[in-house]
Symmetry: D2
Subunit: 444 residues, 4 copies
């Protein structure tokens, strides 16, 4: 039948050539081993395919868009090279079988690539955490300065988000790592094939259980996309923070020149374009997830051509996720932290209000009263634009007689040190977290 | 501060009362154990909370919407009951800590509920598979009859989709099953609390690693929603098939009266409303997923009030998923299969064309030629509305002289039996699948 | 047939009681007018329905969940009140007809409500714009201070976003404002009804064109949701800005106490919870949109029960949008702007770099050179933490000899005044914009 | 600064070259007209740009990926051609201004293209409707045969869905058709430009009102995407129906060979791949919509680099929508309808049950009773697999004595003819609908 641009996929499925050839070679080998085709045919097929791989990698392959997809291109070329034996490669294998193998091999590599890149970004975060065990920064809730924390502690939070991403990808791998080949059009094939041999050849851990499910299944892509979406959500959170921290208002962070761009009009600009783009690209990945979920909705068994729509979103997500993780690893590793400014932001604000309330509680003031005193004291001090440390003891006494000279020992350091519980921001705890994080990095 | 309907959550967070009270009791017990509050206070608190739980369950609790949320309602009531000691319950615990514990406990139960219901539906599918080891039905690709399969094989495909859902929920559980309490506002708490004790009391497997991450983290909900969305996608596929198979055109399936509704106007209608609604409710769950992903996008550390938007979508998804799984378990268990009609659909169609092409190939006709012959033969037969078995040998010979008398032995039974590879539709393979499936059901 | 919670809708469709009764009364009146039912029956029906409306509004209506939905409840109650005549109300009308009328009437009101609330928010924005014709604030690109603008100009930007929202809702109304009644189950009704009369009674501008389309159509809801989603996107942008501007770092804006909440732990906190929640609620509305689009995907003609899923998302979106618009109108109207701080932010930064480059260009320096000089000058000044105005002429001369004494006349005021093009930030232009905006507000 | 693949857009923004050059020419012309640049410079710029357009169209343009985007490529090339004057083209214009003009011009054309293609599909639908004024087909609700309708009526339903799409695109155009140029970086430009002249040159109906809004605004793309999503939803509904109607079970419809594909394995297959792909591509468009909405969520004023993510989704949506509309126009125009089979499906089923109930009602049986009788009669007949017309009068009498000989006059024709209300399926009404539809097609 003639080709139509509407159904053509060559422009995007070309990227699967390596997987496609590997899958075909394993299949040919198995067919010969089982006596389904002759050893001579198998050899011709395998050599032909190896030639074709060379041609593709050398840029010499004669791609023909009119042949619709990668598979027809390779098939036609193999025929030109080895003649009729080429046709025997398709014994006991459907087109769906073949594409399915390709995409599963590709997704396995994509997951490995994501895991490796996440680990690299985690390393960059750990490095920052290691280098900032004494850097104090305001911790925020509601974008309001809340309590002082170690910068180290702050960046370890992102380490753990990514750790969960890594776990999810790892687990998802189990469901991708399954050989589909042997499902035929939908019912299995009427040949004595050896599916486990092919699985072993291609490095799949197991073979699929039910041919109809296998033909209809795109769960592994949906699951990959959901994991990628959540990972991008995490990166968008970090991106937002980088954008804010690079602003004149925060001024906590200075990005390396490699990660800022200037303006054609405004000479003073150092725009955090990479972080902004990363934040924006979150939308694209969410979109690909919803796109595939929409495709799957209400689709009866088994194969329907709608499923061809699985690939472009997958490919774009893989490219986006890999590139974004790479950008963040570099951006975090080269960022300069303005420790001075961070500490000042902590000290000039009222992040110690909780600690001062606790101070009063420790001196017998009921919690709610202490809280109310402090609210009034903060209002007083902020109207006068005075940080706590600049208030006199007399001023403190206006709010509660329980304040003593030792109120001046309630410092950001003391506040941090007091949160000495597992997971808390006190130095010993953060050091433990660092060790755990190192261990997690080694693990998998 | 005064309450505003915009920020109020009581109308939906009430459902967390059990988790909230359990969390508070465990916290109180720990505080006393660590000497942070007195044993007397702890006892008063615990008894007070137990009373409150009784009041709620007996419908006697005086809910006050003006108190904004569940937590303030319980807190205020506890104060009425035991006075000042009530306030001491909040030592070393933030509101976020508390809500976080509640939602994690709730999600753990929701996952357990989903897993149990998926298993029940799997059982119903297995029962159908068990009962239909000899029922032949056309297998479809592109909604066109493709090759004959066992009905048993067909329903096992859905078993495996659900098996993957079950695995995903199980894995997700690991990341939900983490005690957040002890994170305070964001930095940890300045009290010598024992987080592991609280975790043990509440049945959490471990404690969270980093307080800032813990406060900002809603991954476990997003992951639950993604798993639910994929599970609903599966159910929507089955729903679509049930709707089609119940139509006059297919007539493969007759739903139990419990799962059809009539029409106020059309007396003949037996509408598969439950399946349709299930298919439609897929949209709602996709929507909740995209809703939470949108909330998370670009949100800096740590807590931001946007995160309050995590709960309604979660609750509605849990209700929808549980109810839909229950409906399917019942609907599948009670459906009547029209085996006669299925077999007839297989036999009157051209689903044996592949097998007849294979027949020719086995007699030396090259694959492509055999395929072309068969395409012409199908065109000939379908114009005359004759099934293959009604063609004379003379008619077969118009297309190829290789056809012999044994062409009449190419039957749907023979076709099914020929697909005797792991995962294929031949009876021995399907029996193996059934055993595997039984084993998987026992497992977890 | 028995009711099942899965198909029940009473808990959410109760809110349509007014529309339902109005629709029934108009239908009854028409039936009598056309001689399809007797005048006596019509009168009994109308009085019965009016009674029922009173009962509902007085909280006396005996709702029965086992009757599944609003319509069955009213129908059964009417039967109790007036006996057999009640049944004649359903002559020439299907349940779908009836529900469709209700939802279209409801959506018309929802759109009117949205338009009115948008206008109120636009008024609040105009008030701020009016009051700040001389307030200078840094304009931002990439979250970096870029060029000085009038605060007035800044808030007029939001006015125009909302103006487009208003237009879209207005246009959408045309497609909602169509009487569906008379479509029957799908094919029209076999009675001489007068659809135009009913349309006129209920205030619909026209009747629908094709009964099958009418029964299957939920476009008007999807369109409403898309408009609401875009409107929420706008509000989320403003919300983000309010959150940032209320931070210690920006300190441009102080929200009224009504729109901040405190912290149970941190006495100093004034959290912009309303703005955060509004930003978060964007996710919920995006979710409802994608939910309905998912429902519609691949649904054949005409009615399928999936379509029952249209209502909850609609209702929640209406509630969310109305409440959010109300919150913003109040929040903007009561916000205090820290003009001092805004001006200082503009003056202490390098937002005049573009103007200084233009200054050099005007003195014959090629554009690219001027831009490069300024980039270096900014680097020099920012290292020394000096604003431009504190640089000496000698310092300026290090970068270009073209700088003269008049460089000190390049001020934020001069910069603003220079952008004197339609749509620009110069005062005369902003005044024109204000007039246009006032005119647009009057219009519709 | 050096280019990075992460920020590069050349691979997709190349398609805007025509719009970019047109925009620049108009800008140059205006600059000269206002005396901002010399006439000689303007002429050089215009000729240079015209040369460049020729080079691009002849495939001779030396694209340089390292120059990041289309605009830098053209700018650099113009410099090579005309030297320093090239730089003066950027007077009074920012990069955002330029890109914004390009995308708005592109979107205007995209909308015109969509409108034209929708009209072509509407014409194809009208042709089918015209040709099938006497073809009777079962109308469906819940995928169950409900009442007989004219095929003409059925396809007019799709005409009206598309009519609404056309209206929405038309209205959206108003908000796209606005010149952004003159907004500068965000505040307007400090030159006496003439925005209305540029608007007129480029065919824009008006100029934008507020520079900050203009820079930040991507509403017009979001609105285009929402309209495209709803249009694809409609096409997915038609696609689903085509898939079903082409199945062996329905057999209502035979697609032209151009719109089916065969199977590599199954010689009998005629798969409706185009309809399936169209249904699947709905997901991609939904995804692009949610992608852009995600980008916009929480983005403060004015330009942020996230907004660069607006283009790829737009371009892919335009390509998808255009191609899909073209496919449907051809597919519908060439489809063969199996009128025989449709009529048979109507006659052999119980779609006349409503009419028979009405028959009884007309003979004095109360509605509910008549409905109940018919339900029992249908059960009786369907168990015996007898259509109504094959029941004897004696059999009818078992259910109600009111049945007379004239019961055999209740035919599908009579049923259709009885629905003689505006919008109903009776022939005179459908003819009126056809006339209206023709008029709507002429309109706009």
């Amino acid at each position: 039948m003639p080709t139509d641009p509407y159904t053509t996929s060559l422009h995007y499925d070309r990227r699967l050539y390596k997987q496609d050839i590997a899958g075909s070679i394993a299949h040919a080998r198995m067919l010969a081993r089982q006596g389904i085709i002759s050893p001579q045919d198998a050899e011709a097929i395998i050599h032909g395919l190896e030639d074709i791989q060379d041609e593709i990698e050398d840029g010499l392959f004669p791609w023909k868009p009119e042949l619709e997809d990668l598979h027809m291109n390779i098939e036609a070329r193999l025929y030109e090279k080895i003649g009729e034996a080429a046709g025997r490669l398709h014994t006991a294998r459907s087109r769906n079988d073949q594409v399915n193998v390709d995409v599963r091999l590709y997704t396995k590599e994509a997951i490995a690539g994501a895991i490796q890149r996440i680990r690299r970004l985690q390393e960059a975060l750990l490095k920052v955490a290691q280098d900032n065990l004494e850097t104090i920064v305001p911790g925020y809730t509601h974008m309001q300065r809340a309590q002082p924390v170690l910068l180290s502690h702050h960046y370890l939070a992102y380490f753990h988000m990514l750790q969960r991403d890594r776990e999810r990808f790892q687990e998802c791998l189990r469901r991708v790592d399954v050989l589909p080949l042997g499902s035929g059009a939908l019912a299995g094939v009427p040949y004595p094939i050896d599916r486990k041999f092919v699985a072993a050849e291609l490095g799949f851990s197991r073979i699929s259980d039910n041919s109809m499910d296998t033909v209809a299944d795109r769960d592994f892509i949906a699951e990959y996309l959901a994991n990628a979406a959540l990972c991008m959500a995490h990166l968008s959170r970090l991106a937002e923070e980088i954008v804010l921290w690079s602003s004149a208002e925060f001024d906590f962070l200075s990005l390396d020149d490699k990660y800022v761009t200037g303006s054609s009009i405004m000479p003073q600009k150092r725009n955090p374009d990479f972080a902004e783009l990363a934040r924006g690209k979150t939308g694209r990945v969410y979109g690909h997830l919803i796109g595939l979920l929409t495709v799957l909705k209400g689709l009866p068994l088994t194969y329907n051509r709608d499923l061809q729509e699985d690939k472009e979103g997958l490919f774009d997500t893989v490219d986006t996720l890999h590139a974004t993780l790479d950008v963040f690893a570099g951006m975090i590793a080269t960022a300069q932290f303005n420790k001075e400014r961070m500490r000042q932001a902590a000290e000039e604000s009222y992040v110690l209000a909780t600690d001062l309330a606790d101070y009063l509680v420790a001196r017998g003031v009921p919690f709610r009263e202490a809280h109310a005193f402090m609210a009034r004291l903060v209002a007083y001090a902020s109207t006068r634009r005075k940080p706590f440390r600049d208030l006199t003891l007399a001023e403190y006494h206006r709010f509660s007689s329980k304040f003593g000279q030792d109120v001046y020992q309630v410092t950001v350091e003391a506040s941090v040190a007091a949160r000495d519980v597992p997971g808390g921001t006190a130095l010993p705890q953060v050091k433990k977290q660092l060790e755990q994080a190192q261990a997690l990095l080694q693990q998998g």
